[in-house]
């Protein structure tokens, strides 16, 4: 759409003065004709299903026949109410799923971004020998299917798996990773002697989950998934950072070097600010991807142990398909969509270039507020 409008505008400026119905008079119609197939496909497989899901989320559809058939009634916000304020199992499950995924996002996104940038800086180094090999090696987990990596992870993190064998070399008895429901913050608290919820945290609840449980941290099982996400996606984002790094002009870096800036200063004040658009892309993609985590859960743990790896995406699936609560399943999906939008807006706000920075202090030639997306 934006390409089309821009073309139109430039055509108009160039042909200003001449007749409107000139040589390019039919361009608009042709443009729409050529984009029609994509619009039809997107409409059919994206817009229409989204609208259907929106209807299902406010209906009492039971999963038999079409949701638009006669028997389906509009029930208003009842499905959303059951999830957000029902006081029952549905609310508690949603709260639990939200907690699990929140810790997943908060840990995975920063770690994978830092890791990706670190790897990109490493393999972008001109002195490094065998750069091609390392790039391929780091990128390899990203092109492997999630299911395959999940299976590998289940074996590695088995009670008697390779990870625990390795830990035992140092005299550490590893946990039974994918079967351990205890949260890591709770485990730390246990180490300093706090085993039960303080009264203030144990009685008050949010979304059916006590504050003490909100503060549990990711379970040991979820931690294994967090490590896996960092392992698989760092490579993808490394590629984006490499591309961005290669676009940077070397002069600025040389100029900084001449000014006596050290390695760390050059990175912090020269390279990183110029990577801001890429950083925005990486964090946005990371946020969206981590909030939608599903494959690993479906193939690996199905939400267990003790529901500590259940995520809203998986909960939406199992609520709809396994429990035939299609309205609630669709409602969870829309709540998840809202959460992703909110998080993206927040990070956009945080990453925005300060307008009040004097122009001469900016490293970017012009402000690049989200333009790259």
């Amino acid at each position: 759409m934006s390409i089309l409008t821009r073309n139109t505008r430039s055509t108009r400026t160039r042909s200003s003065g001449t007749s409107r119905r000139g040589i390019r008079g039919n361009q608009n119609a042709a443009g729409w004709l050529f984009t029609a197939p994509v619009i039809v496909i997107l409409g059919l497989f994206l817009v229409l299903p989204v609208l259907m899901a929106a209807w299902v989320s406010v209906s009492d559809w039971t999963g038999r026949g079409s949701p638009f058939a006669g028997g389906t009634q509009f029930v208003g916000a009842r499905n959303f109410e059951a999830i957000l304020a029902g006081g029952g199992l549905a609310e508690r499950d949603f709260g639990t799923a939200l907690r699990n995924n929140l810790y997943y996002v908060v840990l995975v996104v920063p770690l994978q971004t830092v890791m990706a940038l670190f790897l990109a800086m490493l393999v972008n180094n001109r002195i490094l020998k065998g750069r091609g090999f390392f790039r391929t090696a780091f990128y390899f987990p990203s092109v492997t299917s999630t299911v395959a990596v999940t299976v590998l992870w289940l074996f590695l993190f088995n009670a008697t798996g390779a990870v625990n064998k390795f830990l035992s070399l140092f005299g550490i008895i590893g946990p039974n990773w994918f079967q351990e429901p205890a949260g890591i913050f709770h485990l730390l608290a246990r180490n300093v002697g706090i085993t039960d919820a303080p009264a203030a945290l144990g009685s008050q609840t949010l979304l059916g989950v006590t504050w003490w449980d909100w503060l549990s941290g990711p379970s040991v099982a979820m931690t294994a998934f967090i490590l896996m996400a960092i392992f698989t996606t760092s490579g993808t984002f490394m590629l984006l950072f490499i591309a961005a790094l290669q676009n940077l002009q070397g002069e600025l870096e040389e100029a900084a070097m001449l000014d006596g800036a050290g390695v760390w200063q050059r990175f912090w004040y020269v390279t990183l600010p110029m990577l801001r658009p890429t950083l925005f892309t990486v964090i946005t993609l990371g946020l969206i991807g981590t909030w939608q985590v599903f494959d690993q859960i479906y193939t690996g743990t199905e939400g267990g142990p003790a529901k500590t790896t259940m995520t809203p995406a998986y909960l939406s699936f199992s609520t709809a398909f396994n429990n035939q609560q299609w309205g609630q399943g669709a409602a969870i999906a829309f709540l998840l969509f809202g959460i992703i939008v909110i998080f993206t807006l927040i990070q956009r706000l945080l990453l925005r270039e300060r307008v009040n920075v004097p122009r001469r202090k900016r490293m970017n030639p012009e402000p690049s507020r989200g333009r790259k997306l």
């Binding site: 089309l4 409008t5 139109t8 108009r12 409107r20 608009n28 119609a29 443009g31 729409w32 984009t35 029609a36 619009i39 039809v40 409409g43 059919l44 817009v47 229409l48 039971t62 999963g63 038999r64 026949g65 079409s66 638009f68 058939a69 006669g70 029952g88 199992l89 088995n158 009670a159 008697t160 798996g161 039974n176 079967q179 429901p181 205890a182 267990g304 142990p305 003790a306 529901k307 709809a320 398909f321 396994n322 429990n323 035939q324």
Partner: protein, 416 residues
């Protein structure tokens, strides 16, 4: 300034056309369920959707269906689903479900509630032959919905080599909770624990009837999850787990009780008839015997599991589907299934033959007499899943508190 407006108009038209195209493309599926006639005379091929425990089961069902197809002249195909519930739901939503399929009791209530499955079992020729407990499991809202295809009960599986190595004899076979604990302690050595089972309701709830408890009252109308009997049973399970001679299979790095038993990580396990097939396939060298679960303070108790042959309400050929189910639940086919993958027949007429053919499964058959089934009203599956989640941390939690919160959840499903 006409160009932007023209382009906007063109955009609007394109979107409308694509929308209309989209709707008409889906139209056939959308309107289908309403206009469909539900007359009983039908024709067309029969599709069967099953979730097989393994290759043996898939092949056995395929050959049984092929036999029926040959004699009846109706075309029939069998598909083994990788995720049965998901594929079933998809079929019901699209209005083109499989005609005949496996259905578990807890799924039955969901699909019966939205009218997806046909209540046909009352009109079967062999309906009086089914075991009463199974008929009860597949009765929803007073209607006997679907024909039970087989049944299994939980029993205690004992590794005979480890049993003898620990100096135990036939006289030591546990018949009470105390004896179970004592035997488990004697069998624990090195990497092997005495008893291991999966951390799920479908194993642990077997202890409830032994203490005289149950999850629902006998009329199925009230939740009795936190009864004193159940608390006693769960406290006993917790005690065994904390003492160290009993562990969850997951704590031993095994996927289920049968795997822990096969790998000799445990000398005893609590499993159903299906363990037979798994052991002979994956661990043919393990020698074992199955006995009835030990009795608790209030006598014997175990759990019964079963599936039925569901028929879709939207099936285009219900008479043929029913004829197929009649053959599949017949005495001969059920005996063939029993031989192929170790399940017990669901009909009384096959019981004698089964006992004769499989004397080793005596304990499982004995269990049918006093077995309970897990609750299966809509929403119950979710509560049981929550129970599974809580059982994972039973060792560090209070049994009474667990059962209290489940009581609230179970009551909520009954008042709907």
């Amino acid at each position: 300034m006409k160009t932007p407006r023209a382009s906007r108009l063109a955009a609007a038209i394109t979107i409308c056309i694509s929308g209309a195209l989209g709707l008409s493309a889906c139209g056939s599926g959308f309107a289908g369920s309403e206009t469909k006639n539900s007359s009983d005379a039908g024709s067309g091929p029969i599709s069967v959707l099953i979730g097989a425990s393994g290759e043996a089961e898939g092949n056995a069902v395929k050959s049984a269906v092929a036999d029926w197809s040959k004699t009846s002249g109706t075309e029939a195909s069998v598909k083994v689903a990788s995720d049965l519930v998901q594929e079933l739901s998809q079929g019901f939503a699209s209005g083109k479900p499989a005609d005949v399929f496996y259905l578990s009791p807890d799924q039955l209530s969901n699909y019966a509630a939205n009218g997806s499955v046909e209540p046909y079992a009352d009109t079967l020729a062999n309906k009086d032959d089914f075991q009463p407990s199974l008929v009860k499991a597949f009765t929803y809202d007073g209607k006997f919905y679907c024909a039970p295809k087989d049944s299994s009960t939980l029993s205690l599986v004992i590794n005979t080599d480890l049993w003898q190595a620990a100096g135990l004899t036939d006289a030591d076979i546990p018949t009470t909770w105390d004896e179970l604990e004592a035997a488990a302690k004697k069998l624990t050595s090195g990497n092997t624990v005495g008893l291991a089972f999966s951390p799920e309701t479908a194993r642990v709830a077997a202890f409830f009837p032994q203490a005289g408890g149950s999850l629902l009252s006998s009329d199925g109308k009230t939740a009795t999850v936190n009864s004193a009997e159940n608390v006693e049973a769960l406290t006993f399970v917790k005690k065994m787990l904390t003492d160290g001679a009993v562990k969850y299979s997951s704590d031993l790095g095994a996927g289920w009780g049968g795997e822990a038993f096969g790998k000799q990580l445990s000398a005893m396990t609590i499993e159903g008839n299906w363990i037979e097939g798994a052991l002979s396939k994956d661990f043919p060298n393990v020698k074992y015997r199955t006995v009835e679960l030990p009795a608790g303070p209030e006598g014997k108790g175990t759990l019964q599991f079963t599936n039925c042959w569901g028929i879709a309400a939207d099936s285009k050929n219900k008479p043929a589907a029913k004829a197929l189910v009649e053959q599949l639940t017949g005495t001969t086919t059920q005996m063939a299934f029993a031989k192929a993958f170790g399940v017990m027949p669901s009909v009384k007429s096959a019981e004698a033959g089964f006992k004769k053919e499989f004397p080793a499964q005596e304990a499982s058959i004995a269990g049918v007499e006093y077995a309970q089934t897990l609750p299966s009203q809509p929403g119950a599956a979710d509560v049981l899943k929550d129970f599974d989640a809580k059982l994972a941390s039973l060792r560090t939690s209070d049994p009474k508190a667990i059962l209290d919160s489940l009581q609230t959840e179970m009551t909520a499903t009954l008042s709907k």
